[in-house]
Amino acid sequence: MALLEVSHLDVRFALRQGEVRALRDVSFTLDRGERLGIVGESGAGKSVAAFTILNLIAKPGYIAGGSILFEGRDLTRLKPRALQNIRGNQISMIFQDPMMTLNPVLTVGEQMIECLKAHRRIRSREAREIALNKLRQVYIPSPEKRLDQYPHELSGGMRQRIIIAIALLLDPDIIVADEPTTALDVTIQAEIMSLLLELCEKHNVALILITHDLGVVSQVTQRTLVMYAGRVIEQGPTREIINDAQHPYTQGLINALPQMASPGSRLNQIPGAMPPLAKTPPGCAFHPRCGFSTDAAGQRRRDCREDVPAFVTSGNCHVACHMVRELVERDPVEPGEAS
């Protein structure tokens, strides 16, 4: 059984202007020790997905349907108290901005000890010992000194290390990291990512990494989920998605990277922009921007315009695209066979 099983998740925000559907029919699984990447552009719903896993969606948002099974328990139905036992303890989260996450009026040590005491019956001295140990694990120099410092005394990279240490404090099964390195410089980003990777492997922690950076996903994760306008449009092994993406949007996203074009030449841009969630077009949400949704006569295909594409299996990937479905039906690929 998978460690985490998200099925048919439907998240909505009841706004004055009407209901906005932020997640539609999102399903995925996560095994113990597995590293899953969720990629997409801003507004695709990837952060909402992360927050929903911990049931952190605040009003006016609510979970309208679907389930999140963690070790057989449905997190969408748990009482707040039971949820608190899981949050931070078995599933912990790393947010984007390290300065916003840490409490500015508590020292690093106080925050770490507070977190330990909230979940375990433990003496302060023991808690301090555990905190020190975790700081050593994330390679923080002179950890004794850092415990008594305030977040503003530390650099951005150091703060994010401390947040990783806090996320690991209670030896969780899953870490959900929402754009953990977006606010950091490229050399610090590389350091934090390799640290996260090392710790997840060492402690057999599963990682859900939410990012817009395909390079990061390709280096850290084993499986990838691509989101567009609140839906998962493609999922499969990261290498297969990067090397041989099937969905036209994923292809476009990868081909738009400057490293995919020869220097100085025009980049392969995707026309248009992602629609706001309140104005998601019917059918396949990507069809107005898609180069494959037109037929021979230059008309938009009816199925792309009207029907939400179902997932088809191509190789080891699952793709939600009418065009790919036709290709697969015409020329079936055995699952497991690398195309």
Binding site: V186, L214, S218, A256, P258, P263, G264, R266, M274
Partner: protein
């Protein structure tokens, strides 16, 4: 499939001349940290002393921008790249040093004297949500620079020029009546580019113009900037932290660290043979799509504060090749062939 990077083709679209358009010499910029005169006074051992502290943002930078090129300045946050851009535009005045535009010194000019240059150089900012006036329609936004720089132009002529610019950057004339907040980030940046191009400049300073945009939109805006460069013979000073963009867009690259220039080279040379240890570490840290990426060079420590600059080479504290001389002596930029320059003792001594 992933294509391997191709060598730059011979069909370079824009011709770079050897004529230097912007010349920056010995540029320094210090920002006072300690406030006014009265705030600087301290009691120390019964005496009143005045203490001043500065952020040493730029510490002796020499850069040449050649006509027709896209010169990229890269570096991590706090290295001073944006400060250089702002000083070139005259938005900040340098503490020391000279900036020459087409041979004329511009850094000490009064705002009025600077006006004719302002028409020739324009700026594109990072955040298109902040750089457009929320109370102006797009038409007004685009007309404003023209009215300002061409007070003698008729209303008809201004409208014509705006229509031309809108067409050239792919803005629907219908957008003119709308306000900035009605547009997405990519569209706003398109409008900001149109505003910069409206007065027909020859030199554009772009400070992280695509950092706030999504990947698929970044490609659109970069394409637009490359098209504009080709059709209008523009020269760019392009500030960014994104090395993948630099590799694609730049003619030459300047790598900065803590207010100093580490390395200057043609883009292809820099990416194939980085010489400065910092450049090497920076390049190794780019997240790549390929499996077989080069080993990441781990730098020890973090960027020191620019308030108390390290002695000698500013990079010595994190450099794996630093020795006694690096800690003592500031390295000078030495030419290493093909117009490239490196400021590193190890390279100079042949240790690296």
């Amino acid at each position: 499939m992933i294509q391997t990077l191709q060598q730059p083709t011979a069909a370079a679209t824009v011709t770079t001349t050897d004529e230097t358009l912007v010349e920056i010499r010995g540029l320094e910029k210090h920002f006072a940290l300690s406030g006014d005169f009265l705030e600087q006074l301290r009691f120390q051992r019964g005496k009143l002393v005045r203490r001043q502290e500065f952020v040493h943002a730029i510490n002796g930078v020499d850069i040449d921008v050649k006509r027709g090129e896209a010169l990229c300045v890269v570096g991590e946050s706090g290295c001073g790249k944006s400060t250089v851009a702002r000083m070139v535009m005259g938005l900040l005045s340098p503490t020391r040093g000279e900036i020459r535009y087409a041979g004329e010194r511009i850094d000490h000019l009064s705002p009025r004297q600077l006006l004719p240059y302002r028409r020739r150089m324009q700026m594109i900012f990072q955040n298109p949500y902040a750089s457009l006036n929320p109370r102006m329609t797009i038409q007004q936004t685009l007309e404003e620079p023209l009215r300002f720089h061409h007070p003698d132009w008729s209303r008809e002529r201004i409208r014509q020029q705006v229509a031309e610019v809108m067409a050239s950057v792919g803005i629907d004339p219908e957008w003119g009546k709308r306000f900035g907040h009605e547009f997405s980030g990519g569209q706003r940046q398109r409008i900001a580019i149109a505003r910069a191009l409206a007065v027909d400049p020859e030199f554009i300073v772009a400070d992280e113009p695509i950092s706030a945009l999504d990947v698929s939109i970044q490609a659109q805006v970069l394409n637009l900037m490359m098209d504009a460069q080709e059709s209008r013979q523009l020269t760019y000073l392009f500030i960014t932290h994104d090395l993948a963009v630099v590799e694609h867009f730049g003619t030459r690259v300047v790598v900065m660290y803590l207010g100093r220039v580490c390395e200057v080279a043609e883009t292809h040379t820099l990416f194939s043979q980085p010489r400065h240890p910092y450049t090497q570490a920076l390049l190794s840290a780019i997240p790549r799509l390929e499996d077989d990426r080069p080993e990441y060079i781990r730098l020890s420590g973090e960027v020191p504060t620019p308030v108390n600059l390290p002695s000698g080479c500013v990079f010595h504290g994190r450099c794996p090749h630093a020795n006694e001389r690096c800690r003592r002596e500031v390295p000078r930029a030495i030419p290493i062939g093909h117009g490239a320059q490196v400021a590193c003792h190890a390279v100079e001594e042949g240790r690296l």
